[in-house]
């Protein structure tokens, strides 16, 4: 073997060992997390419970370090009112108000938009705090109520609010996705987190079945190809493909 060939091989070897770890071209992040649904029948209606436990302070570059939301974006089955997208959100605004919001969408636009009164006022959401976003179903598996809880660790206080969905908007959901993104269109639609991490726990009802995360919404959804427009620099960890009653996921 000629010396220049040896040199070439050595150079290629050096290049290979110095390559950065392969970074996949796509990871779950921002407004595109896993879609949670029942397994193996993705067309099963389900309720949703999402719990976020924060392991670091949640601070963005928004006004006063706030202006972000945790959105349980849910996908409805085909229905008379053509409701396709349901948003169950907890957010913090520039004044430090932690509040809940429910927005239902049809193919013609928004059906309703409700914001709760502030649950609590804080400088920002702290490490140790927690959010819960829970939907409740009736006997027809239609979502009839949403509950929002904010646990303030420093005072060991639980703040809670429920919203009763108007009867004309009762529809089942088949998939939902938790996104940690900007507060809303008006306020910091792209949330840049300076610090923010924790764990998301998705809990399935023992009566609707075990869950897995998927890269796409249920094919039984009215409109599986929409997503929330708010975005962020938040990244989400991988989920096991094995069905489970409770699924946990890191975010950072």
């Amino acid at each position: 073997m000629r010396p220049r060939h040896v040199a070439g091989i050595a150079l290629v070897f050096l290049l290979v060992i110095s390559l950065p770890v392969y970074i996949p071209a796509y990871a779950y992040s921002s407004n595109s997390n896993y879609y949670m649904g029942i397994t193996p029948n993705e067309c099963s209606n389900t309720g949703s419970e999402t719990n976020l436990e924060f392991t670091s302070n949640m601070i963005t570059t928004g006004v006063n370090g706030n202006q972000w939301s945790a959105q349980a974006n849910s996908y409805a089955v085909p229905n008379v009112r053509i409701i396709d997208f349901m948003q169950f959100n907890m957010a913090i605004d520039k004044s430090g108000h932690v509040y809940a919001a429910v927005e239902y969408w049809t193919t013609s636009g928004e059906l309703f938009n409700w914001n709760s009164a502030p649950l609590a006022t804080v400088s920002h959401v702290y490490a140790g705090d927690a959010f819960w976003i829970i939907t409740y179903l009736n006997v027809y598996t239609q979502v009839v109520q949403a509950e929002f809880d904010y646990y303030r660790a420093a005072t060991q206080t639980l703040y809670s609010v429920t919203y009763n969905i108007p009867g004309y908007a009762w529809v089942p959901l088949v998939s939902w996705q938790l996104n940690i993104v900007g507060e809303n269109n008006l306020n910091n639609p792209y949330a840049t987190f300076v610090t923010g991490s924790g764990q998301i726990a998705y809990t399935s009802s023992t009566l609707t079945g075990q869950m897995t995360g998927s890269g796409m919404a249920s094919s039984c959804a009215q409109q599986p190809i929409v997503w929330t427009a708010e975005q962020s620099n938040m990244a989400y960890g991988s989920l096991s493909p094995i069905p489970s009653w409770t699924v946990t996921q890191n975010f950072w």
Partner: protein
Amino acid sequence: MRRIGSSTSESFSKSISVLRQRLVEKHRNSYAYLSFSKAYSPAPVSKVALMNHLNAVMPNRMMTRHCRCSVKSHGISLVVVAALSILVILACASVVVEGLPHSRPVSSQPIPGSQCSTVIPGGLALQSDTGNATTTIVQDAVFVMSPGSTAELCVTYNVTQIAAAQSLSDVLFSAKVYSFSTTPITGSGGKGFMYSFTNYTGVLTGADPEIASFSQGSTGGAVNVVYSLTALSGTNGFYSLSFTNSCPSSMPFVIGSSASQISDTDFPGFFMPSSCRAQIPLSTGIVTGYSGMQVLWISQGESP
């Protein structure tokens, strides 16, 4: 680089555990009367014949970049191969880096051509908060047309990265003008509105192009769409304007009134902050130009 904290305190874990158990039990109890779900057939997604039309009118609608990593080394020394490898690896890396989770969408591009006489390269502020650190004042753009006239809106959509596993279908572009009614939500301990929209036939609308298709695994680029609006003679009033992925989804739209005749009270519920939704893989539409219409801004204050 931010990292996940290593642990939480024991007392916190205990508190959370108790609270979670309470909520989980409550949640599970709510299912006590559930019946199992009915399976629905998926709605058919049309792969439209307009694809041919689209290819004809907008052949470069997607700016997809591919990394071709094969190198012919026959007859070339290993040193040359190594040099080429460096270039190829760097090229691949640049493509991969574009797909990192924290990357932001590409910036909007100016509208080509002269269909929109007023061009706003940075995009029109359709809704903004002009308040301070503690108060919110919502300002909405209001589009005003004259009866018997035609207007255009130039809109740019950024194409976000498309995952291999992500649902994908053609995006149909359309503009809609609706008659609307809003009802305040009361008795919920918060504030809100219910909306009702009905197609208004006094304005004819069109979109060019009408459809765009995307391939999985592609990333980046932008789509430019020109929406046309023709207000028929004899029309007037206050309406809602929407277009594909508009954000806010409902924008104040007026036919036949002057600026002094328009106020925020003509559009109840339009000044409430909301989330927005968009069809994958596009961002919300950015209005980068308009013609044949006036744009005004009106504000509505909110209590802090």
